[in-house]
Symmetry: C2
């Protein structure tokens, strides 16, 4: 008759509530659907009551389930807080988090993530390293940044890469563009188009690096700093572009432009946080990564958390 309940169960229940289904909750927790099903059955057996009303999508909480999920909502933040406090005891309160960004669109999620971070670690000096840099990792070695957001995690001595998330790049076309008739675009389709990009080196453009360059295709270019400007140019038929799916969802819903996958399987991209190996254990750096993942999984459509 001991209390079978463990924190694991509370995390699971909260995840199921958030995800609306065992399968999706399992993905978030990096477990199998089966594991959650077993857990849930065990709990329901123990309490002698169903915790979720099945056969409904999304899964709905019973009163008993609600009690436990509410409990989880209270407890889990308290625990996270206590563990942060302990980390502060160990590492001291001070520290700085200077973030180097190579990706223009990243600001979409960086701002809310930084807000949350500032709340949780008020003592840590938070900054974005201004300007864009060809090699942000270099800034880590020079002690001008503490964390760099990078897309290709090149193995490098002294650097640790912490996975953030992965997503698909989509090609953007004017709604009446001839290529919009195709179900997906290939490298060759870009040959006679004007490609609109951010003003960064080719290596940092996933489309060029992974698709066009290997195919030996080098279309005309036009650059601009602002995402909205890219969208505007595409819409007014001045060229085509390739951006992360999550960054243009808003415009697609309004039919401002059309989007197509690049290559039949899509053009996969991912983001990672690079930190100095020596500092990879630092609690607030790890927590920042966790915050980014949380924020992004809940706010950005069509992304997948990577790594374990």
């Amino acid at each position: 008759m001991q209390s079978l309940l463990e924190l694991r169960h509370l995390k699971t229940l909260a995840a199921i509530r958030d995800a609306g289904s065992l399968t999706r909750a399992a993905e978030r927790l990096f477990l199998t659907q089966s594991a959650l099903s077993h857990q849930l059955r065990q709990l329901e057996e123990h309490y002698g009551l169903p915790l979720f009303a099945r056969k409904t999508a999304p899964l709905k909480l019973t009163p008993a389930g609600d009690k436990l999920v509410q409990l989880a909502d209270h407890l889990l933040p308290m625990i996270a807080n206590a563990e942060r406090d302990i980390a502060k005891l160990r590492e001291g309160e001070a520290g700085s988090l200077r973030i180097a960004v190579e990706c223009h669109t990243c600001f979409d999620w960086l701002m809310p993530a930084m807000d949350t971070f500032r709340e949780r670690w008020p003592e840590v000096e938070l900054d974005i390293v201004s300007g864009f840099h060809a090699d942000p990792v270099q800034l880590l070695f020079e002690d001008r940044a503490d964390l760099a957001i990078v897309s290709v995690p090149e193995a490098e001595a002294g650097i640790n890469h912490l996975p953030l998330f992965a997503y698909d790049m989509v090609a953007l076309l004017a709604r009446d563009h001839p290529l919009a008739a195709k179900p997906h675009l290939d490298a060759a389709d870009f040959a006679d188009e004007t490609l609109i990009t951010y003003p960064v080196p080719d290596d940092m453009l996933d489309l060029v690096r992974q698709v066009l360059k290997p195919a030996g295709i080098n279309p005309k270019r036009r650059t601009t700093e602002l995402t909205v400007a890219i969208l505007q140019l595409v819409a007014s038929r001045r060229g085509v572009a390739a951006l992360p799916g999550w960054s243009v969802q808003h415009y697609l819903e309004r039919d401002y432009v059309a989007a197509r996958p690049i290559t039949p399987g899509g053009l996969r991209a991912e983001l990672n946080a690079a930190v100095l190996q020596d500092r990879a254990g630092t609690a607030y750096l790890q927590d920042f990564v966790a915050i980014v993942r949380e924020v992004c999984v809940s706010e950005l459509p069509g992304i997948q958390l990577t790594g374990a």
Copy 2:
């Protein structure tokens, strides 16, 4: 870098804080000292900080340990509450807890336990079945009681016995009584004494049932309802008595009377709660037992929790 922390750890930490040592905490949790040591090491490794200052008795909390214990103090009651709420959902709020008592001294701890119970289960009708009964278990079958406090758990069909605690009976003597010179008393020592007891059948007197009767000794008797009256009679040399050690601690500290073990190894007694088998699963009955054990282990000196 996952949060290793589980509720088990919080329970352990709180127990160590309460008990002041791993060994005693382990007893309370029905685990081995080794298990707690392993747990503790794992936690300290994980957080990179000591949680207790060792080499001191009682073990003292470090700031980090304090953070976690405080967390435990917040969380564990919340969890207990939530689980009670769920039990209420399952079983309904109503119910009655009529307690039958065969043991006079039990009121010492029964009252505080009932107070706590009333707080946690305000809807359950709480009562003591008035008067003392030769066979309180019979009252369960007659539906005149829901729980009986008994000392000898006689196996009986349809009845479940839930262990409460065990303790030693002590013989009480006037301070200048000749027998007080002996390190312990034996059956024969009682032959020429007047034995002062509660007015209950011999079967319910541990001293008579387990020591005197087997030895064929039947001393003069005198009875009274009140514990203080027994003490008063002993102190004024009208006879000797045998009572639970925990019930007379107060008087011993004041040197009102002397106490000696009965038989070299002491006279062990235990208390159990008897309930109808059908109702043994009822949450509030189980919780009452848990409350009694909690109250008694913290308030009564020299008792041991029994069972698992």
